[in-house]
């Protein structure tokens, strides 16, 4: 636990009209860790992702990334600093071939910086990235239109867009949901490899079983509040978490 802090979230809040989507949430994350974020539907997981990555403005609180206060930064600048994200609702360019989807992130100043001047042909680099995350099984897939991809590949494409930036931290919003057991099984080694490469991950998931295998630490949200934080076994036995998932107020079904 000696790795340095990469992300500090301090007392962050956000409400939409009367709904407190995120209420006074704080946590810290060390470099190279995987943080799992769980919570029933509508508990504010995506909102937390949006707040960290600058896609919506916070009402209050502070976010420190690599020692920099990024609280007021626009989204593109946060991504430029190395904090990338995926979207729960995938955002491909449907009319472009898959590999061309990666050209815009590879065109970014960050990608040029991190490549140290030897980026070469962006299309070729894009294919390399796609192969890294499992597009190699069918060599034609990178040339298909992104709109025709099945869900599993779309989720991977979201991850590829992040990897094109060579990020230090990736916030993944439900990249397992909707995938089959075997697809998830093939994603898990990938996430582990990213961790080995030194990338810090925040994974928002409903698939608790798989997530708990990966995560070093888990954070539980309910109605926008952090109700528990700790390692997997603590969370499993936490009374408040059990109540949030099985209790009367929510209708969430444990998968």
């Amino acid at each position: 636990m000696s790795a340095k802090l990469i992300l500090e979230v301090r007392h962050v809040s956000k409400s939409f009209g009367g709904i407190k989507a995120i209420n006074d949430v704080s946590f810290n994350l060390r470099q190279g860790q995987i943080l799992g974020v769980i919570g029933p539907n509508g508990s504010g997981k995506t909102t937390l992702n949006n707040l960290i990555t600058g896609f919506i403005k916070k009402d209050a609180g502070q976010i420190i990334f690599k020692g920099l206060d990024i609280s007021k930064w626009p989204a593109y600048k946060i991504a430029d600093a190395g904090l990338a994200r995926t979207f729960q609702i995938m955002r491909p360019y449907p009319t472009l071939p898959v590999y061309k989807n990666l050209v815009p992130p590879l065109y970014s100043p960050r990608a040029r910086r991190t490549a140290r001047g030897k980026l070469g042909d962006r299309g070729a680099v894009a294919i390399d990235i796609l192969e890294e995350v499992g597009f190699e099984r069918d060599a034609r897939v990178p040339y298909k239109l992104a709109g025709t991809l099945p869900l599993g590949y779309l989720k991977r494409l979201e991850l590829c867009r992040c990897l094109a930036l060579r990020p230090e931290l990736i916030v993944c919003d439900e990249i397992f949901s909707g995938l089959s057991m075997s697809e998830i099984a093939s994603m898990i080694p990938l996430m582990e490899r990213l961790q080995d490469e030194g990338i810090t991950l925040i994974m928002v998931e409903h698939r608790i079983k798989e997530l708990f295998k990966l995560a070093n630490k888990v954070l539980v949200l309910n109605f926008g509040e952090k109700i528990a934080e700790g390692d997997s076994s603590d969370i499993f036995n936490d009374e408040k978490v059990k109540r949030a998932y099985f209790g009367g107020e929510t209708t969430y079904v444990f998968k």
Partner: protein, 335 residues
């Protein structure tokens, strides 16, 4: 009862994947580049065969085609609907007019200078509106030329309502026609390459269709919009500067609504998914509107009717329709 169904088949070139053509013979290459060659040939030959009056119309149509290409590029490939195209024309026109009348610079210098500095100026003016989306950007951009005309007539700068007369004119009718035709064609080819093949073209298209993904890709949306506006404005300013030296006069009419609206109509008529659609639309609409000159301002009604017709009944526009017929053929099959 026998049912019949229409079937569409690709003709000509085989497509290996969704995006890669397998070109194997001269015939197939001709199939791909033929339409472009035909367009270029027609535009280059027209000045030689048209009677003098229609040569003038061709010149003006060229200016409108340039404006239409500039409008279509911003609207279809960057997602900015600019209803203030007249601002570009006016700014370019006045810069070249003032440079010519005060410093005595020749058109050969004033036109390029006006294109670049005018584009910079227009981009700076539009910068505050770039974060606006959709109809908000359209409305604000529409205000700019109207407001500028008010300022000129109220303060009387640059000749006020009279404008500045006695400027240098372009040498002769051949230069007039070929300069504008070559510039239009060059812009069309450059932009087509840009939006289809250049990496920054993909970023522009992302700004239009998928802004969230662009921001998540560490790209500053406003900066890329500004670059696109600069490209579009440079074309508009060129058009204005060219008109100034075509007439040897610059005045408030360069800010007239025609310059904002006709490019929009040409884009709707020509088709919205290509760079050359608006160009073809302009070369069709301008001569038609010219032959209706005796109806005066009723011509605006004509544009409106054509536009409404296309929007309601023929959304794909001429060029998309022709392209479809060219690339595919239809036949009836029994089912």
């Amino acid at each position: 009862m026998q049912e019949r169904r229409r079937e569409r088949l690709d003709r000509g070139v085989k497509v290996r994947s969704d995006t890669i053509y397998a070109v194997s013979s001269a015939k197939e290459i001709l199939f791909l580049v033929g339409p472009g060659l035909a367009l270029v040939t027609v535009l280059l030959i027209l000045p030689l065969i048209l009677p003098p009056y229609w040569q003038k119309v061709l010149t003006i149509a060229g200016v409108y085609a340039l404006l239409a290409v500039s409008f279509g590029f911003l609207a279809n490939f960057v997602g900015l609907v600019n209803l203030g195209g007249a601002m570009f024309v006016g700014v370019g026109g006045y810069i070249s007019g003032v440079l010519n009348s005060t410093l005595g610079l020749p058109p050969l210098l004033t036109i390029p200078i006006a294109s670049v500095t005018g584009a910079l100026l227009c981009t700076l003016l539009l910068l505050p509106c770039l974060p606006l989306r959709g109809v908000y950007f359209a409305v604000v951009s529409f205000i700019y030329p109207l407001a500028t005309v008010m300022i000129i007539s109220a303060t009387g700068v640059w000749g006020g309502t009279d404008g500045i007369a006695g400027l240098n004119v372009l040498p002769n009718v051949w230069v007039n026609q070929y300069v504008i035709i070559l510039v239009v064609l060059a812009c069309m080819f450059a932009l087509t390459r840009l939006v289809n093949h250049a990496d920054i073209g993909l970023v522009f298209r992302g700004v239009k269709d998928n802004e969230l993904a662009i921001r998540a890709s560490a790209l500053n949306v406003t900066w890329y919009k500004a670059q696109a506006v600069f490209i579009s404005a440079a074309m508009g300013c060129f058009g204005g500067a060219y008109l100034t030296h075509l007439y040897g006069w610059v005045g408030m009419s360069l800010f007239a609504m025609d310059f904002s609206i006709l490019p929009l109509a040409a884009t709707v008529v020509g088709g919205t998914s290509t760079i050359y659609g608006p160009l073809v639309g302009a070369f069709l609409l301008v001569p038609i509107s010219e032959s209706l000159r005796s109806f005066g301002t009723l011509r605006i009604v004509f544009y409106s009717v054509v536009m409404v017709f296309c929007v309601v009944f023929w959304t794909e526009g001429i060029m998309n329709y022709l392209r479809r017929r060219y690339e595919q053929f239809e036949r009836w099959v029994r089912v």
